[in-house]
């Protein structure tokens, strides 16, 4: 579904050049939930933003659903983006619009008739469990509710792909799980491919099938999620799993194994 070939992105500052994405190649299968994990500054956010060209990659190609995103002109890109949903860590909802109008925004941009927009928005607000919040404004919602609006907005135009840029990083653990469950349901129900980046192991564990580990702009390890936990190979993977295990053994030491 998504095929990334030899993607590069550098930032040139007066003092140095930072290579945020370094010759990254990836394949994401249709209907998959693909996780990309890494520490802060590993380049995962830049990578996912290159997929819909919110960041312009320097070289390499991104092909989504058989169409080369990197070769498109502005208008083609605009149309392609209408079928690529994106959810953000900071939600990025429009404070001036009601929940209903926020979800309607991508549909209006795509030029659908009013009646169809109304039906679609109602359908997706029901799906994310906000059927009683149509007329509320984002500033009146909790973080979890805001992200549900964000997800409904990303889904509204029935995209083939959803990009999730740290969607749960600003949420508490309980809300995180409810959002992950929602993403899982959506993936099952609509067969939409989800690419998500995260620095939380729990997120990978909970919903991803395939994953990649990013370190200094490069993909250092990729494969099924289970393999990562059983047999971490790269440095970053070992550190992630190591942090988890060291805290688990501390707990074992302090609180006993629960026998």
């Amino acid at each position: 579904m998504i095929s990334i070939r030899d993607l590069n992105k550098r930032y040139v500052t007066p003092h140095s050049t930072v290579t945020a994405v370094d010759s990254v190649s990836l394949e994401v299968a249709r209907g998959d939930i693909y996780g990309i994990i890494g520490f802060s500054g590993a380049g995962k956010s830049t990578l996912i933003r290159c997929l819909n060209r919110l960041e312009e990659p320097d070289s390499g190609s991104v092909v989504i659903g058989g169409r080369d995103i990197t070769a498109m002109d502005k208008n083609q890109l605009r149309l392609a983006r209408q079928k690529i949903g994106m959810i953000f860590q900071q939600f990025n909802l429009l404070d001036a619009k009601t929940v209903f109008d926020n979800v309607a925004f991508p549909l209006e941009a795509a030029g659908y008739p009013r009646e169809k927009i109304r039906r679609r928005v109602e359908e997706f607000l029901n799906l994310v469990g906000l059927e009683d919040k149509h007329r509320a404004y984002p500033l009146q919602l909790s973080g979890g509710q805001k992200q549900r609006v964000g997800i409904a907005r990303a889904l509204a135009n029935e995209p083939e792909v959803i990009l999730s840029d740290e969607a749960t990083s600003a949420l508490d653990p309980q809300t995180t799980y409810s959002i992950l469950e929602l993403l899982k349901d959506i993936n099952k129900k609509f067969g939409v491919t989800i690419v998500l980046i995260t620095h939380e192991l729990d997120v990978l564990h909970h919903i991803c099938n395939q994953m990649a580990v990013m370190e200094k702009g490069r993909i250092v390890e990729q494969g099924p999620v289970d393999q990562f936990f059983l047999n971490p190979e790269s440095d970053t993977a070992k550190r992630f799993v190591g942090i988890l295990q060291s805290f688990q053994s501390q707990r074992l030491y302090r609180e006993g194994a629960g026998i």
Partner: protein, 222 residues
């Protein structure tokens, strides 16, 4: 206070209001598009054109560098061309609005830049056109701040009309200079200042009320 003084004040207030309202409206008509263009043509924004942005920024800075009284004098021939005279309130509206437009453009630019860029990116990510992003995201999101900015501009334009009054525009400013200053009529000077204070207070109060109303609507719980 006698009737003559009242008549003078009322006429002056009427002329000032007339100049302020029309000059603000025209300045807004010029300044709003300029402010929007200053923001959206910046690098990385929806209508990226950095070189054009720099040129426009420089032109606005040049216009803003003129001392206001000089700018009015420079623009008087233009007023003659448009309204046929260089005297009176109507003639003053031409330099007033052209003089305030660059100032207003900068204020509007500032207000629009307060909008979190993530919101613009979210709109870009769903494939919205630049025009839709400007009219449905950028301006509505900045609206309370734009109203406050416009309040500042209106009050500055009230001050600006007083300057114009010194060179034949009429209004409260001209009243204060012709009677209060040149004829030593302290009572008229004082009365003019009181009316101006009330006017400025009223504008500020109105602006605060509208901005607050928009914010309350977005925050209300029910």
């Amino acid at each position: 206070m006698n009737r003559d003084l009242w008549d003078l004040l009322l006429t002056g207030l009427g002329e000032t209001m007339y100049m302020v309202i029309l000059a603000t409206a025209i300045a807004l008509l010029i300044g709003l598009p300029l402010g929007v263009i200053l923001v959206v043509t910046e690098k990385g924004n929806v209508w990226e054109a950095p070189r054009f942005n720099r040129v426009l920024g420089t032109v606005i800075n040049v216009l803003r560098s003129f001392p206001s009284i000089i700018l009015i004098v420079v623009l008087l021939p233009l007023a003659r061309l448009i309204v046929g005279t260089t005297l009176g309130a109507t003639a003053a509206i031409v330099p007033l609005s052209i003089g305030s437009a660059p100032f207003l453009a900068r204020i509007i630019e500032n207000c629009l830049k307060e909008v979190n860029f993530g919101k613009i990116e979210a709109a870009m990510a769903v494939g919205a056109s630049p025009l839709r992003i400007i009219t449905k995201v950028l301006i509505p999101e900045a609206l309370p701040s734009l109203v406050r900015g416009l309040t500042i501009a209106v009050i500055a334009i009230i001050g600006f009309t007083a300057v114009a009054g010194a060179i034949g525009a009429g209004g409260l400013g001209s009243l204060a200079i012709r009677f209060g200053y040149l004829r030593y009529r302290d009572d008229i000077m004082l009365a003019t200042i009181i009316v101006l204070v009330i006017l400025v207070q009223g504008v500020q109060w109105g602006g605060d009320y509208i901005a607050g109303y928009i914010n309350r609507k977005r925050y209300k719980f029910d």
